[in-house]
């Protein structure tokens, strides 16, 4: 079970490239590669994920009996590997699929990681997991949601997060429930950025709705990171939809809310599909004028003595802000991977893969609101789940479904006062 062979790696054929090291390896270390968007458009999200993952590693490597039911929290390190500690090696995908593939190769062949996590943008996850597949290294995607990631027939790819169709179902269930209270929800507008994330989630939304006999009234695609969104807002204002669903990155989410404010338009129900709406910067910059905005999240801090609450507190101590959904989903992915390595009792990729296939975690052992973790043949977690949260004051609170809600759903969208 030799874990690090970094010492023998120094084959200085191209002396320009010294060996790369983020951590000095201890005797017993399990090396996991983590590819994230640390710079570029999604840099803020990637940085947050990095902070979250480092917290997760701390929880795994040091005893946290207070978080007891959570996988691997109680003891120091991975018990089945004699208390071996987990070490992460980070790589920046720079938002480029080609760079992500290079990263994966480097992590596998230089850093000899035994498994990988990543890689935020679905395009980057796609190319980096293809490299992992060729090398036979398990890959757990904790946050990428494009539908085409699963279904490639890969053996080594697993996704813990819910994806497009799950979200679409969530929104439609939620809206159907809201409709029971007499509020109109039939006219739905979907506004999405037009790269892979926005397009694939919007496609899922349209097809899932169609399957239920609901027609999406308005679908507006726009270029991400634009300079102005007034025309889109005017289109909405003209059409007067009952519900507006935004599938947007941070910068555009901020602009939409600012433009609502400028143009004095308040759609009755505003739903943000995570991502931009979940970025801590979103609340900081436009929170006061986005009151009542709905969002999906699989993570809610909950009551003060819950695991989630404590994890959130730990995160807040490190970073000064609340744990957001994307970061939490990514952390959960890492926990699932480490749990599998522990159950495998080995760092052999094949053993880890087999353990991942057999994964069956109950909700109690998770740090996130999934109904469990269990992979289907494509490697998709079939128990992934989210709930609806709403921006009330300075933070999001769970409002639906009722059994998990900690605050009352407030409609219509208030925006600003």
């Amino acid at each position: 079970m030799s874990i690090s062979r970094r010492g023998v790696l120094a084959l200085p054929a191209l002396a320009v490239l010294p060996a790369l090291s983020e951590h000095v390896m201890a005797a017993e270390t399990v090396s996991i590669g983590y590819i994230e968007a640390l710079t570029g458009n999604a840099g803020a999200a990637g940085q947050s994920i990095k902070q979250g993952a480092e917290l997760a590693v701390e929880i795994i490597n040091t005893p946290h009996p207070d978080l007891a039911p959570l996988t691997l929290a109680k003891n120091a390190g991975l018990p089945n590997l004699g208390g071996a500690t987990v070490a992460l090696t980070w790589a920046d995908n720079q938002g480029s699929p080609a760079v992500a593939a290079s990263d994966a190769l480097r992590l596998i062949t230089q850093d000899h990681v035994v498994a990988m996590c990543g890689a935020y943008q679905s395009s980057c996850t796609l190319t980096s997991s293809a490299v992992a597949e060729r090398y036979g290294i398990p890959y757990v995607a904790g946050e990428s949601v494009a539908a085409n990631l699963t279904g490639r027939g890969y053996k080594w790819f697993f996704r813990t997060t819910p994806y497009g169709p799950d979200f679409a179902r969530l929104y439609l269930d939620f809206l159907a429930d809201v409709a029971k209270s007499g509020r109109a929800t039939g006219k739905i507008a979907v506004v999405h950025e037009n790269t892979d994330y926005g397009t694939s989630v919007a496609d899922s939304m349209v097809s899932t709705a169609a399957a239920r006999g609901i027609k999406i009234a308005q679908r507006i695609a726009y270029n991400a990171n634009g300079t102005d969104v007034s025309p889109q807002v005017l289109q909405l204002k003209e059409a007067q939809p009952d519900v507006v669903i935004f599938i947007s990155y941070t910068s555009d989410s901020i602009l939409y809310i600012k433009t609502f404010h400028t143009l004095g338009y308040r759609p009755p129900i505003v739903i943000g599909d995570d991502s931009g709406f979940s970025d801590p910067s979103f609340i900081k910059t436009v929170g006061p004028i986005a009151q009542g905005a709905l969002n999906r999240s699989a993570f809610v801090p909950g009551k003060p003595d819950s695991i989630t609450y404590k994890i959130n507190a730990l995160f807040k101590k490190r970073t000064g802000r609340d744990l957001d959904d994307t970061t939490a989903r990514s952390m959960q992915g890492l926990f699932v991977l480490c749990d599998a390595i522990n159950r495998a009792g080995s760092t052999k990729p094949e053993a880890i893969r087999e353990a991942l296939v057999k994964t069956d975690l109950p909700p109690g052992e998770l740090m996130i609101g999934y109904e469990g973790v269990k992979f289907n043949a494509q490697g998709q977690n079939i128990l992934a789940y989210s709930l609806m949260i709403q921006l009330q004051g300075e933070s999001y609170v769970p409002v639906w479904p009722a059994n998990q809600a900690s605050a009352k759903l407030e409609l219509p969208f208030k925006g600003w006062t």
């Binding site: 990171n225 634009g226 910067s281 900081k284 910059t285």
Partner: protein, 285 residues
């Protein structure tokens, strides 16, 4: 009603483009240097505004001039340390050196300020006016008015003052200018300084209604290049008009054709205009 609102939004947006491009016109048009780091200059000015507000609790009346002064100094330094040396080389040397500068600035900002988006409170300037059903944002109005004032000021400087004619003389022909006793280096340093100062004003004002992040410049940069080119290099009023046209065109095409295709119209129009007038609207042939 919608029509008027679209025009008004388009003009406000166009004024922002013109504002954003004003410094670029000066530097690009007068010195024939394609400054790829222009967007990063604006980003720096936006951070100046943000930090002035959060740390010193001062408003735009203070931070806009400060950003202009700061950027002026920065522009001069960049000229002296970098641009002066690459200007004499081929056009490509300017391109790659300012491209390198852009990377350094953007990612130094990332390191210093983190990737998080920040913004000034929406209440800082005025709020929103409702004029006969047309919604106007005070911050954008100020930005628009300043863009026009800045354009007029620069135009007057270049065409009506001795300093301006010296700067133009250097831009036309360094050697000839030197022969008649104008020292080219201080003039060009000054042009860079002024270009950067205009950028500083722009950044300070745009920060009033736009988020601030290390890569915020990139959203505007490509359009700024198109704006300057469409107006004709070196034509300050040309850039203003081009900015307004692009703003209105974007606004209308985004509304009628959909936001994802608005750039098709803008770039298509640009290509078509170059086809008809290969030197831009106001460019010297």
């Amino acid at each position: 009603m919608i029509l008027l609102q679209l025009i008004s939004d388009g003009l406000q947006l166009g004024a922002v483009y013109a504002l954003f491009s004003s410094g670029l016109t000066l530097i690009w048009g007068m010195m024939n240097v394609m400054n790829f780091a222009h967007g990063q200059f604006v980003m720096l000015a936006m951070y100046v505004a943000f930090f002035c507000f959060t740390l010193l609790k001062v408003g735009p009346a203070f931070f806009v001039p400060l950003a202009a002064i700061g950027l002026f100094g920065f522009g001069v330094v960049v000229y002296l340390l970098l641009v002066r040396h690459v200007m004499r080389g081929p056009m490509l040397a300017q391109i790659i050196s300012t491209f390198g500068l852009a990377l350094v600035l953007q990612y130094s900002a990332l390191w210093a300020f983190s990737a998080n988006f920040v913004s000034l409170p929406t209440t800082l300037v005025g709020g929103v006016y409702d004029v006969g059903g047309i919604r106007l944002s005070a911050a954008r109005l100020i930005a628009g008015a300043t863009a026009i004032a800045l354009t007029a000021g620069m135009h007057l400087l270049l065409t009506r003052t001795d300093l301006g004619s010296r700067m133009l003389a250097v831009s036309e022909d360094r050697v000839a200018a030197a022969l008649v006793g104008i020292r080219p280096d201080p003039m060009q340093a000054l042009a860079w300084g002024l270009g950067a100062a205009a950028t500083g004003v722009a950044g300070g004002l745009i920060a009033l209604f736009f988020y601030v992040s290390p890569d915020v410049g990139n959203s505007f940069t490509l359009l700024a290049f198109v704006t300057v080119c469409l107006g004709g290099f070196g034509s300050v009023p040309g850039a203003l008009l081009a900015g307004l046209i692009i703003g209105v065109v974007e606004s209308f095409s985004a509304y009628w054709l959909g936001p994802a295709t608005k750039d098709v119209v803008v770039y298509g129009l640009f290509v078509a205009l170059l086809w008809v007038r290969p030197q831009g609207m106001f460019g010297r042939a």
